[in-house]
Symmetry: C2
Subunit: 124 residues, 2 copies
């Protein structure tokens, strides 16, 4: 089995989740080896939550799982790229399709992303 190099990031590597159809970058999160193995085993993106310090099956609360379609590893073996099918249509906990819903323009943040759901309705 391919084991990414988890040593450089103190056991964590960044993982980019990209919509497998539109190629929109949805989010960046982190995996440790346990999360990596869970993702390979289940086919659902599983990360390590840096804020809660727990294994985080994306969608476990909302039902908005990320079904992994393809996995890529970078030249240094220390970053993962996932092509995913985002159930529910939005990856961001704010309800936007992508976590990158704000553009930095002339020193300001401008909301450009598409809002898919109201977080108050999803996280009850």
């Amino acid at each position: 089995m391919i084991i990414p190099n988890f040593t450089k990031g103190n056991g964590l590597i960044p993982v980019i989740a990209q919509d497998f159809e539109t190629k929109e970058v949805l989010m960046l999160a982190y995996m440790n080896q346990q999360a990596w193995e869970a993702t390979l085993k289940t086919g659902k993106a599983t990360y390590w939550s840096r804020s809660r310090n727990v294994l985080w099956l994306k969608g476990e609360t909302s039902g908005h799982f990320q079904l992994v379609k393809d996995i890529f590893i970078d030249c240094d073996d220390d970053t993962i790229l996932l092509y995913v099918q985002q159930l529910g249509g939005a990856a961001c906990h704010t309800g936007y399709k992508s976590c990158f819903y704000r553009q930095v323009k002339e020193g300001k943040n401008v909301v450009v992303g598409e809002k898919i759901f109201d977080p108050k309705e999803v996280y009850k």
Copy 2:
């Protein structure tokens, strides 16, 4: 000016560079505040090299600069997404268009990326 939150990653945040036309993810690198400010000022992607511990103007050796077309920041203010025009056609020092030129399939790495140049010809 927007200042991303550099505190969570000990002064460094991950930055995703995506081809502004094809939306292919080209690479992931890191910025500190100095690199962020240089990128905003020059319009050329400038990172912080974790291996060399120096400011790294991408393309400074090869001439393959990344011209920044759009900048996005994520919901937590701790990850940057750049839409770039990759001069020379390849982002990876191995000569592949994307650093994510290997797919993880059935426990193995399979090269799927497009090789654009011979590194021996570019880095002399």
